[in-house]
């Protein structure tokens, strides 16, 4: 091929290239396919049977109350585990001048007077509120859901005002007298978690 011919091809190629750029309006065999995809997120919804488990006053040492709370999976996703934690509020120290220490005590001391029994666990309200990692209250393990959609579980919670017969030194007065008239509200926080992510195949047709 001589130089001229080469150049001609070059120009031709250029022209071709140019015409390809304009291809949209120009000729054409083509084919279009659509793939319809559907991604729908599920719902994870834990429902408790009540907002207030109990709210009791005028307790004396030794008194105890047992209430049942129903936890229901109201969503479309399986619940893997349910975790419990607690927060306390509303406590105020009530002083009693006839006691040698004026009945001074801390919130932690007050909450320690109450024992909570939930499932196998026996702890004080203070531990529940302060020294407590999120506690798993379901034992199915990670492979099995704790609650499948529509399923419920009953959780029995027993709270006892523990009786302690320790007395002040050289006195007939019980140390627990310092807690007279005191109160607190405990918020039990239940967290439901999802199952681990997994490889999914399509919904059955």
């Amino acid at each position: 091929m001589d130089f001229k011919k080469k150049m001609g091809t070059g120009i031709l190629a250029g022209a071709l290239g140019l015409s390809l750029v304009g291809g949209g309006t120009y000729a054409a065999f083509n084919d279009v396919e659509e793939i319809d995809n559907f991604f729908s997120a599920g719902t994870l919804d834990l429902v408790t049977s009540t907002d207030v488990l109990f709210d009791i006053s005028n307790l004396k040492p030794g008194d105890h109350i047992t209430e049942t709370l129903t936890l229901t999976n109201n969503g479309s996703l399986e619940i893997d585990e349910i975790l419990l934690n607690g927060f306390a509020s509303g406590w105020e120290d009530v002083l009693h001048t006839h006691l040698t220490d004026n009945g001074k005590n801390s919130k932690a001391e007050f909450l320690s007077q109450f024992q909570v029994e939930v499932l196998e666990e026996v702890i004080t309200l203070n531990d529940l509120v302060n020294n407590f990692e999120d506690k798993e209250i379901t034992f199915e393990g990670t492979e099995t859901p704790a609650l499948v959609p529509g399923e419920s579980m009953d959780l029995e919670v027993k709270v006892t005002f523990v009786e302690d017969d320790t007395r002040y030194d050289d006195s007939r007065l019980f140390e627990q007298n310092k807690y007279q008239g005191e109160g607190a509200t405990i918020n039990l926080r239940f967290e439901a978690t999802q199952m681990p992510g997994e490889e999914r195949s399509n919904d059955a047709q």
Partner: protein, 262 residues
Amino acid sequence: MTFKKKLTAGAMAATLGFSLVGVGTWAAFNDIEEVSAGVAAGELDLVINPAEGPINFDISNLKPGDKMTRSFELDNNGTLAIKEVLLSIDQVDFNDYIPEEGQAGFGDEDTYGSNDAEEYLDQFQVTLLRTGTEGAVEDIIVGTEQKVTLKDIYLGSDKVQKAVGNHWVDGRINLASTASNQWEGLPAQPHDFDTVEMTIEFVEYSDRDDRGVEDQNKYQGDTADITFSLEATQWDGQEITEADLNENGYITINEEANNGEN
């Protein structure tokens, strides 16, 4: 490695890095529900009010045969029912009189002698101990037959137990009424109070030695500061159910005698 391959590896590393950054929040469907539980302690509060005249004995210059009566009212000022009010003598500050020069009886041992606190307390006999309200009075100790003295109360002796019957609780005397009904003890509801009446007599007996000196002479000039301790107790702890609560969650039956069971 060609450039293309390197690029792919780089892109993959970037993707991995990205997903690692997101780990904390990635999965992340959860739901949180809160349920509240409130607890509040009640109050156990015994008050002692004068009933007629002073509530305490504060008497000097006593002689054998002297008699004194005091009364006081036990009242419940708390929100919890009181089960018992337990009387004991926890503290006695005794002084055996030994006269110094210039004081009465100095040098005459017949008139003061020496004795201990328990002997002195034994000279004071409780001849009446009564509790309750008008119309429902319970006699805990009546008359001289039982021979219950302040020493017996101090020691919590069997003699007291025998004398006071069902008012005996763990070595102490229950001063609250014990009638087994809604008024047992001192309920906060229905509000109740008991009036306690106590008579103490400086016993008088004649017991002379060879020289004719009365045995009781040794108590002359002696003094004792005696503290009565009154402990109010709570009813036993109980199972609380919905039926025991009013609309505010207040445990009404803790105001009542015997945890509301009559």
